[in-house]
């Protein structure tokens, strides 16, 4: 029986009602919990789904990349090798579309990886990393960090810790342009905006060859041209997975091991290679401090304080017997490691390596460019070898004919009506460099003293001859390997340009050609056969196609100016052809491909293939060509009035007779400070062993920069002479930012012997 107290009744009904509310609220909360407890486990993949039919997942296993080996003191050394590295990767599919989640993940990862969240986001957006594949967030992660992440891998959705191999280049800058570098799989640079990468044809061609989208592939140098050998064959791991992606088992029947890539052996002699790089660095440094002499005739545009800019230089040393490249140097240099670790570089270094096109200085210096094969230069007077050869071989010149420039005071006047009279039009007069005149001389002396007058006249005389002769210079250039790729096994190998009619029609018919060759056609010839200057702005396709074009252009072409473009390695090939009496080589820079082995003994290693010395053309060189031409090259080096005499004055020519030719290429402005310095030579003269071709951009006369480098390299190639001894080649710390991307100083005893500007000398 219930006992009721009097004071209670008042609030009782209310309290019960209110208690009811509390009860309803509590029950609702429990129902919410029950609903969630039902929802959570039932929306996860069910057991049936997980076990429904095994699915296969393929994982490509990259093969160990082959090494690039160079020769050092009879041994092979590793120029490009591998080392294992721990990489933190992120599966893109998990958080690709969710920038919030990604930012959160990056925010949590950044302190662990010792990185900036923004830097990680930058990587995420970087087209260098394919979005089709896991994104590497950090390479070279240390052991504790990797362990830390491995233990908590489930807390970081999409993050993986993997061991991969990365490339190492132990010798820093040595042969860097030849070795090249690796980088992301390329895509078509002209791919229209909006076309996804996976539809890019170039990119697709790689994927079709079992590349993983984020693989690093050769993008320059031997790394690129021997990609197929170096890469090996990737293996495949095939797994059975369930719907959630959990690995159930490995299908051994479908999986296979990768086949490691082959090693590539370069022809380079690293001691000479290093000496060449050091010499280039030295000559560039020295010449950047020098100023040209003031011009004879006062020139208001001449700035006496302006120094040579010397944006770059290159040198090629070729074995004249085999066409093997002994050294190939280009300056400025880089370290292949810098490209691999590009992100770690300082902003200043990045700006140097990938210059803003607006930055004229850095754009011209362009350290990544291998100038030895892709530098297309006006050959200047070094081209006179080709002019002479063509003229004599085509019967347009008797080498004993003596020509005098005295009457014209060293200035050649086009023998056309328009150019006669007291005030000839612009483009009628062609003067010797330095506006000197030299007197009467035959071909050998004209070569040795580099008379421009002689060759202007020769060029015009050939141009007005009949069809059989008028293209003598251009044809000879082609015989000697110019106007086409040299064939050296480097992807940067360029063809250059020999401006005969067909070529010009083709190139100048394009707007690009018109823009590039500012004076695509500086002269036109009227119906009467008279040449007249035409401003490039007036040039029309019709004038360009004039069948009589070469007459006037020949005058410039004959001294290697105007539209002629050759690469340093082409010059080496052409001069070797003279020295060897007719062997036109396709130079080799890779001599062998061998199976990978741990031994670095040069005689070991199972041969995969070998590259024989390749003579692509065997020219007949009659004595009336070889005699005067080689005599001219000797003249330039040995005789007091020779253009390179100063440089080789103290050189033991009796022990090592050198035949060479200087060149000074103008850039069309006639400003001395823009003159590029060239020198090509071979030695010993009668049975050449080495040919050397050196170009120093915007550094003055041939003897002021290129010839001194050439001399030093001959000293280094012949240590018996007791002059320069190449220094030892040591591995350096290839860490970008720590190791300098500059070659070291020249060894003690190795000095550059500079020629000067002097009275009565032209080039």
């Amino acid at each position: 029986m219930e006992v009721v107290e009097p004071g209670r009744l008042n609030g009782e009904e209310r309290a019960r009602l209110r208690l009811g509310i509390l009860g309803v609220v509590s029950v609702s909360l429990l129902l919410v919990l029950l609903a969630r407890a039902w929802y959570l486990p039932t929306t996860a993949p069910s057991d049936e789904e997980l076990s429904a039919g095994p699915r296969l997942r393929e994982v490509l296993v990259p093969a160990t990349r082959g090494r690039i080996l160079g020769r050092l003191d009879g041994q092979l050394v590793v120029l490009a090798g591998n080392r294992p590295v721990t990489v933190i990767t992120m599966r893109r599919d998990q958080i690709d579309d969710d920038s919030d989640l990604r930012a959160q993940l990056f925010g949590r990862l950044a302190p662990i990886l010792d990185a900036d969240p923004e830097a990680l986001e930058e990587r995420f957006d970087d087209p260098e990393y394919s979005y089709l594949e896991n994104l590497p967030l950090a390479e070279g992660v240390d052991e504790p960090t990797a362990m830390y992440l491995n233990e908590r891998i489930d807390d970081y959705p999409g993050i993986d810790v993997a061991t991969e191999t990365t490339r190492v280049y132990p010798y820093g800058t040595v042969a860097s342009h030849v070795i090249g570098y690796i980088g992301a799989i390329p895509s078509d640079p002209d791919r229209p905006a909006g076309v996804p990468l996976r539809q890019d044809a170039v990119f697709q061609s790689y994927i079709a060859q079992d590349y993983r989208p984020n693989d690093r592939v050769g993008r320059a140098g031997v790394e690129q041209s021997f990609e197929v050998e170096l890469r090996g064959k990737p293996g495949k791991l095939v797994y059975e997975v369930n719907a959630r992606g959990d690995v159930l088992s490995q299908r051994d029947d479908l999986s296979y091991e990768p086949v490691p890539g082959n090693d590539v052996v370069l022809t380079l002699d690293l001691r000479v290679q290093q000496l060449a790089e050091q010499a280039l660095r030295q000559v560039v440094q020295d010449r950047r401090l020098a100023r040209p002499a003031p011009p004879k005739t006062p020139d208001p545009t001449f700035d006496p304080n302006e120094t040579f800019s010397v944006p770059g230089a290159s040198a090629v040393v070729m074995d004249a017997k085999t066409g093997a490249v002994i050294a190939m140097a280009s300056y400025p240099t880089f370290m292949p490691q810098e490209i691999l670790d590009f992100r770690a570089l300082s902003p200043a270094r990045k700006a140097e390596l990938r210059p803003d096109p607006a930055d004229k200085v850095f754009t011209q210096r362009a350290p990544l460019v291998n100038r030895a094969v892709s530098g297309r230069y006006n050959p200047g007077s070094t081209f006179k070898l080709v002019t002479s050869w063509g003229a004599v071989a085509h019967g347009a010149l008797d080498p004993n004919t003596r020509i005098s420039d005295v009457a014209d005071k060293g200035t050649y006047r086009l023998p056309i009506p328009e150019c006669q009279g007291p005030e000839p039009g612009n483009g009628c007069l062609f003067s010797n460099a330095g506006k000197e005149f030299m007197g009467e001389m035959a071909l050998a002396e004209a070569l040795g003293r580099s008379s421009d007058y002689y060759f202007y006249k020769l060029g015009f005389d050939i141009g007005i001859r009949d069809d059989a002769v008028k293209l003598a210079i251009q044809n000879e250039a082609r015989y000697l390997g110019m106007g086409r790729k040299s064939g050296v096994q480097l992807p940067e190998d360029k063809a250059g340009f020999i401006p005969d009619q067909g070529e010009l029609d083709r190139v100048c018919a394009t707007t690009e050609g018109l823009a590039r060759y500012v004076d695509c056609n500086p002269y036109s010839v009227d119906d009467g056969g008279n040449a007249r200057p035409v401003k490039s702005s007036e040039a029309t396709l019709e004038t360009l196609r004039s069948p009589k074009y070469p007459i006037a252009a020949n005058v410039n072409t004959s001294i290697g100016q105007g539209l002629v473009e050759v690469t340093p390695i082409q010059l080496a090939v052409a001069y070797t052809a003279l020295g060897t009496r007719g062997n036109v080589f396709a130079p080799t820079i890779v001599e062998r491909v061998i199976k990978p082995s741990t031994s670095l003994d040069a005689s070991q290693g199972e041969l995969v293939r070998t590259f024989e010395s390749r003579v692509v053309d065997r020219l007949a060189v009659p004595e009336n060509v070889y005699g005067p031409l080689s005599e001219g090259l000797r003249w330039a080096v040995e005789r007091e009035k020779g253009t390179a005499f100063q440089v080789f004055e103290s050189f033991p020519l009796n022990r090592l007779p050198v035949a060479g030719k200087t060149g000074t290429a103008q850039d069309g402005t006639e400003k001395a400070v823009r003159d590029s310095s060239l020198f090509v030579a071979y030695a010993p003269m009668d049975d050449p062993q080495f040919t050397i071709s050196v170009v120093v951009e915007k550094a003055g006369f041939g003897r002021q920069a290129a010839a001194p480098v050439t001399r030093l390299l001959f000293e280094g190639l012949n240590p018996d002479l007791g002059l320069c001894q190449p220094g030892p080649v040591e591995p350096v710390s290839p860490v970008p930012g720590v190791a300098s991307p500059e070659p070291g100083p020249l060894p003690v005893g190795c000095v550059l012997t500079y020629g000067t500007e002097r009275e009565g000398s032209t080039d």
Binding site: M1, V3, V4, E5, P6, G7, R8, N10, G11, E12, R14, A15, R16, R18, L19, I21, L22, G23, V25, S26, V27, L29, L30, V32, L33, L34, R36, A37, W38, L40, P41, T42, T43, A44, S46, D47, D98, D100, L101, A103, Q104, F106, G107, R108, A110, P111, D116, P117, R152, D154, D155
Partner: protein, 403 residues
């Protein structure tokens, strides 16, 4: 009214009015079941770790058993003294608990970023746990005095009595307990006869204080992180807070806290998902055995239940809590007086909030605040306090006939 004289009753009838005759055995049974189930799961949560480390896997089970024993004794005491005679004791307890809450700020152990514990060597005392129980009784006395109608004066008194311990708890800082006190206060006030505008006013004040605290430096970044992190884990498209490079100590702490919370909730969700419908079996949970969920024997013990026993286990556990709530609700409804009703209403509010918050947080639908699952989570102070609370409910039940 019919008044019955004691003398008129038989011995049996007299016995029927004795408190011990009216124990609600269902509550005792449920509490025992929950505690036993808790011990099982506490053991399961750490078993593998202890076995791997070569230590005694029963370490926590033993400690929890001792705490439960102490709690049982305290509950019997709390049940036997007629709650209507507790008035003086309530005042003393209130002042005492305020003293302890103040003292813990000075002498307490700093643990997990909060100064909430006294380290008594073998046992860590968390005064806030007892504070909640004391406050339930205090608010019941204040409310009961109104006789079902809440005057403004009484409302202000209630607010004042509540705000002081809330403030002290927030200084530790322990947001979870502050929220529980808020729930108790709301529940007690509701039943004590609060008008609608009372509720509105209190809600507005509390929300205002919360917003103010959130937008000033009072609530530290890492606390904010803890409270908001769950949204990012479950609702993945919601905007996360800006994540600047942690520069100051506090920001670093916030990043760590965010990280920890996210890891806990993710682990808990995965464990519950892995459990599926029937669970992976006793001691069989991979995530539990792998130590994938931190704080699993204490705040996240529900994930152990979820992984091992699946939906069957979680739904069963939630239902048992529902049953317990029903029993408390019943006691509130049949209590002899408003004081008893209010004690039970407070107890129900506290239980309901603890269960909803803890399980909700384990399943990713509530913010992470470190409040335990009643009687199941490992924790001495909390278990003892809950047992005392149930003792008080029994007290109301047992003394409903005793004049």
């Amino acid at each position: 009214l019919i008044t019955i004289n004691d003398a008129q009753l038989t011995r049996v009838e007299r016995g029927a009015r004795e408190p011990w005759f009216h124990v609600d055995w269902s509550i005792v049974l449920i509490a025992t079941g929950l505690a036993a189930f808790g011990l099982l799961n506490i053991y399961a949560a750490r078993r593998q770790n202890f076995l791997l480390a070569g230590e005694d896997p029963y370490t926590y089970v033993k400690r929890q058993t001792i705490a439960l024993g102490v709690g049982l004794a305290a509950a019997i005491v709390a049940a036997l003294i007629d709650y209507r005679k507790l008035r003086a004791l309530t005042g003393v307890a209130y002042v005492g608990i305020l003293g302890l809450l103040g003292a813990v700020l000075v002498w307490g152990e700093l643990n997990k970023g909060a100064r909430a514990w006294f380290d008594l060597g073998v046992f860590q005392l968390q005064p806030a746990e007892f504070g909640k129980v004391v406050l339930i009784v205090v608010l019941a006395w204040v409310g009961a005095a109104g006789g079902g109608d809440l005057s403004a004066r009484r409302l202000i008194t209630s607010i004042g009595l509540t705000v002081v311990p809330v403030g002290l708890v927030l200084l530790q800082p322990d947001l979870g307990t502050a929220l529980v006190i808020g729930a108790i206060f709301t529940g007690a006030l509701l039943v004590a006869g609060a008008r609608l505008w009372h509720i509105v006013l209190v809600t507005v004040l509390a929300l205002g204080a919360a917003v103010y605290a959130f937008n000033t430096s009072y609530i530290k970044e890492y606390q904010r992180a803890r409270l908001t992190q769950f949204i990012e884990v479950t609702v993945q498209s919601s905007a996360p807070e800006e994540l600047p490079e942690p520069a100051t100590e506090l920001e670093k702490k916030a990043a760590e806290e965010r990280e920890k919370v996210r890891a806990n909730v993710t682990g808990s969700l995965r464990a519950i998902q892995a459990g599926g419908f029937t669970g992976s079996g006793l001691f069989e949970g991979d995530l539990t055995n792998g130590g994938e969920v931190a704080e699993q024997r204490t705040d996240f013990i529900f994930s152990v239940v979820g992984e091992q026993f699946g939906f069957v286990g979680t739904a069963g556990l939630i239902s048992v809590y529902g049953l317990l709530g029903l029993r408390i609700w019943r006691v509130a409804a049949i209590a002899r007086d408003l004081l008893g009703t209010l004690i039970c209403a407070g107890a129900l509010s506290m239980m309901a909030f603890h269960v909803f918050e803890n399980i909700g947080m384990s399943m990713g639908i509530m913010p992470v605040t470190g409040i335990p699952l009643p009687l199941v989570s490992y924790g001495g102070s909390s278990s003892i306090a809950f047992l005392i609370l149930l003792g008080l409910v029994e007290n109301v039940h047992m003394h409903r006939f005793k004049s």
